[in-house]
């Protein structure tokens, strides 16, 4: 699956986009956040307060219990501040 990061989350992780093979023990968005947090110090810092992170799957906002499939495009970011 494709995973994208935006704003300060992108800066902390140091990557804008990456391809990840959906791990076996990752069912939903919350699981993926946990899995990514363990991936390295940048990820740990980015996801340190997961409650402030928003997720989108296939360009729709989703809650953390949203189920994932390996063909999804997942994006993580802080609350939006456009307009």
């Amino acid at each position: 699956m494709k995973v994208l990061y935006f704003a300060w989350l992108r800066q902390r992780i140091g990557v804008a986009m990456e391809e990840i093979e959906l791990p076996d023990d990752v069912d939903d968005v919350g699981d993926l956040v946990g899995w990514l947090t363990a991936k390295g110090p940048g990820y740990a810092k980015g996801f340190a307060e997961p409650q402030v992170i928003r997720a989108a799957v296939n360009f729709e906002y989703v809650p953390f219990d949203h189920k994932l499939s390996n063909t999804d495009e997942v994006a993580f970011f802080p609350p939006v501040t456009g307009g």
């Binding site: 994208l4 935006f6 704003a7 300060w8 992108r10 989108a56 360009f59 729709e60 906002y61 989703v62 809650p63 949203h66 495009e73 994006a75 970011f77 802080p78 609350p79 939006v80 501040t81 456009g82 307009g83």
Partner: protein, 160 residues
């Protein structure tokens, strides 16, 4: 109509295009958002040098089109337009433009106000501010969430 672009836009030309040939339009309400030169940094005024708007291209147009469709389902609009810029912008520059045209004025006012409120909370843009003291990402504002909540039912957030 939705436009997501780096370039500036010409408000007069956009409004003229929006209403051209449609004599059923009695009123057009529009909003232009501009970059201000003073921002709040930890409770103090700081001079803004520039602001950089990052967005999620594949999602932005989709969300803006959904927000526009929602407005058109709520109010009898003759025409509507959302333009949102991305990239680096300096004080005084135009960021966003929303226009709603209707037979009667209140529908145009309410739809335009609604579009701006939802755009603030639903469009995937993030602002990075640059001052003499450095850079910082703009925090989302509770007042924006409250403004969006005035219109009730936010399908995208319902699950959160």
């Amino acid at each position: 109509m939705i436009k997501v672009q780096q370039d500036n836009f010409d408000v007069g030309a956009e409004l003229a295009d929006l209403t051209a040939g449609n004599y059923g339009i009695g009123g057009v309400v529009s909003f232009v958002g501009l970059v201000r030169d003073l921002i709040d940094v930890d409770g103090r005024d700081a001079a803004l040098r520039a602001m950089t708007l990052e967005h999620y291209p594949a999602m932005t147009e989709k969300k803006l089109a959904e927000i526009e469709a929602e407005a058109r389902s709520r109010w009898p609009l003759e025409a509507s337009l959302i333009i949102h810029r991305y990239g680096r912008l300096e004080p005084g520059e135009q960021i966003v433009f929303v226009a709603c045209a209707a037979a009667h004025r209140q529908a145009a006012f309410d739809a335009c106000n609604f579009l701006m409120d939802w755009l603030k909370t639903d469009a995937p843009f993030w602002k990075l501010e640059e001052t003499d003291a450095g850079e910082g990402w703009v925090d989302s504002r509770e007042s924006d969430d409250e403004a969006a909540a005035r219109w009730q039912i936010k399908p995208d957030r319902a699950a959160e």
